[in-house]
């Protein structure tokens, strides 16, 4: 009985750790990357949520923010980068382009939705979403991971 409680507590603690420490991957694609940088900048400062350690290598990072249009030429590379990240890993699809193709949805060389390439945990709509939107999404994702609703 007490063993179970211990296991549950440990499990919860680990989930808490995963959730509250999401190191983003330096991965900017297009317009939304600038708003991502704004969210990182002094005015919005998402370091408050423990995401200030921007990691340049996928091996070190937990959170891939697909910030911008994913073209067909880029999609296999995105998949590759996602595969090279270490579990547990999460994906935020930022903006209309990454979520559904956005203004380029009728184009010939744009993937309409990055969820065809990698599994997405959070979609943010808008073109581009405001930084506060991204920060709110990050916070919601953190809470959901800590609650065990998002698993990897």
């Amino acid at each position: 009985m007490s063993d179970n409680i211990l296991v549950t507590t440990l499990d919860e603690a680990l989930r808490w750790g995963t959730g509250k420490s999401l190191w983003p991957f330096t991965f900017g694609l297009a317009c939304c990357a600038l708003e991502m940088m704004s969210a990182m900048g002094s005015d919005y400062d998402w370091a408050r949520f423990g995401s200030d350690v921007f990691r340049d290598s996928p091996r070190h990072s937990d959170l891939m923010i697909v910030s911008g249009t994913v073209t067909k030429k880029m999609a296999p590379r995105v998949r590759r980068l996602y595969d090279q990240m270490a579990f547990p890993k999460f994906v935020i699809s930022m903006g209309a382009c990454a979520s559904a193709g956005g203004p380029y949805v009728r184009g010939y060389s744009v993937v309409d939705g990055v969820d065809q390439v990698v599994p997405v945990d959070v979609y943010i709509y808008g073109c581009p979403p405001r930084p506060e939107s991204l920060i709110k999404a990050l916070k919601l994702l953190q809470d959901r991971i800590a609650d065990g609703k998002v698993k990897h």
């Binding site: 603690a13 680990l14 808490w16 750790g17 995963t18 509250k20 420490s21 190191w23 002094s42 400062d45 370091a47 408050r48 949520f49 423990g50 200030d52 350690v53 990691r55 340049d56 290598s57 091996r59 070190h60 937990d62 090279q84 270490a86 579990f87 547990p88």
Partner: protein, 359 residues
């Protein structure tokens, strides 16, 4: 009295309390019981120092993130715990769960060995640092002759781990990072050691404890200012710190030698860097700023204050300088630091021979 005997007496007390007498455990005249007690105490001591090192690292990373946020007009981590102080705990919990990826093409043995080579020497370095000698419980763990040489040796080994790590991970950036680490190692070790010789000349001893005591009246930074600057720059270069963070420069080689490392292995690299910084500032405080010497407060506090100032200076430098290019870096090591360190050597010989008994 040092940590070892402190722990020994605690163990002795515990055994007394349990009515166990360990001395009679003998075999053919050898006091095996005593040896076992020594062993237990040694293990506990190493674990304590390890925890101390980890604690220093955690505090340093936290301060670093907060301070960096401060100079950039931000807040920094503030959600977990008071002022975000639990953020690092969450990071460690996260790192423990991260997947451990070893690339197929990597040399697996060497890949696994590298993190150990980075972190182990730093912990040993923490065991040798003289933390004080007058307080009731001073933390000076080990004292013997030639401690200063071992201290410097611990600072010298970690680049070897970095080179092996970059070399074994079969990654082009890792390879270039390892090359740069080797170049750094080669260019900055010599000036560092020569300025250390100057200190040894002034103190007349290889013992870190004696070096501190020799600075009772005047810290060595006064006669050895040039040497201090050289040692400081060399330490910056050895510790992969801006402006000399060439081996893991983010904007050039993605993460340099640690590019392929993930999870806790990368965590060890990451923490090893900060632990090395802490050790380096402790060493600088010890050999140039009089270590634990100081009025009123106990020695340990003085050492922590002095080293803390240096850690803050390191952090400040990290956020406020550009990265140098590799050829400029080597030029600086060979064309400026090396001749200057030899000039400094002669100056200190002059002090030692002709300045009488001041030092």
């Amino acid at each position: 009295m040092n940590l070892f005997f402190f722990l020994m007496s605690i163990l002795y007390g515990i055994l007394k309390f349990l009515h166990i007498d360990f001395v009679p455990f003998t075999s053919h005249g050898y006091p095996i019981g005593l040896w076992i007690a020594y062993l237990i105490v040694a293990v506990v001591e190493v674990i304590l120092v390890f925890i101390l090192a980890m604690l220093v690292v955690v505090i340093l990373i936290y301060v670093f993130r907060k301070y960096m946020a401060d100079v950039q007009n931000r807040i920094g981590p503030n959600r977990l715990g008071p002022w975000g102080s639990l953020q690092l705990i969450a990071d460690v919990f996260k790192l423990i769960q991260k997947q451990d990826i070893i690339p197929t093409a990597a040399d697996k043995t060497a890949y696994r060995v590298a993190p150990y080579l980075v972190f182990t020497p730093v912990v040993i370095g923490f065991m040798i640092i003289p933390f004080g000698n007058v307080s009731l419980l001073n933390l000076m763990v080990i004292n013997f002759n030639y401690t200063i040489l071992f201290l410097v040796a611990t600072m010298i080994i970690s680049p070897v781990g970095e080179i092996i790590g970059g070399l074994s991970s079969h990654n082009k950036y890792g390879m270039l990072g390892a090359l740069r680490a080797a170049a750094q190692d080669m260019s900055y070790e010599v000036p560092m050691l020569i300025s250390l010789i100057s200190v040894i000349i002034l103190a007349g001893s290889f013992n870190a404890q004696d070096i501190v005591i020799a600075q009772r009246h005047i810290p060595f930074v006064v006669p050895e200012f040039l040497g201090f600057i050289i040692f400081f720059l060399a330490v910056l270069g050895k510790q992969v710190f801006p402006p000399f963070d060439l081996p893991e420069s983010a904007s050039e080689l993605v993460s340099g030698y640690s590019t392929e490392y993930s999870g806790m292995r990368y965590g060890i690299f990451y923490m090893g860097g900060f632990a090395g910084t802490a050790l380096a500032s402790l060493v600088i405080a010890t050999i140039y700023f009089g270590g634990w010497e100081g009025p009123i407060f106990p020695g340990t506090i003085w050492l922590i204050i002095k080293a803390g100032v240096f850690m803050l200076i390191f952090l400040l430098i990290q956020v406020s300088v550009f990265r140098v290019r590799v050829d400029q870096f080597l030029d600086m090591g060979w064309k400026y630091l090396l001749p200057l360190s030899i000039v400094n050597l002669f100056i200190s010989v002059g002090f030692a021979l002709f300045a009488g008994g001041v030092f």
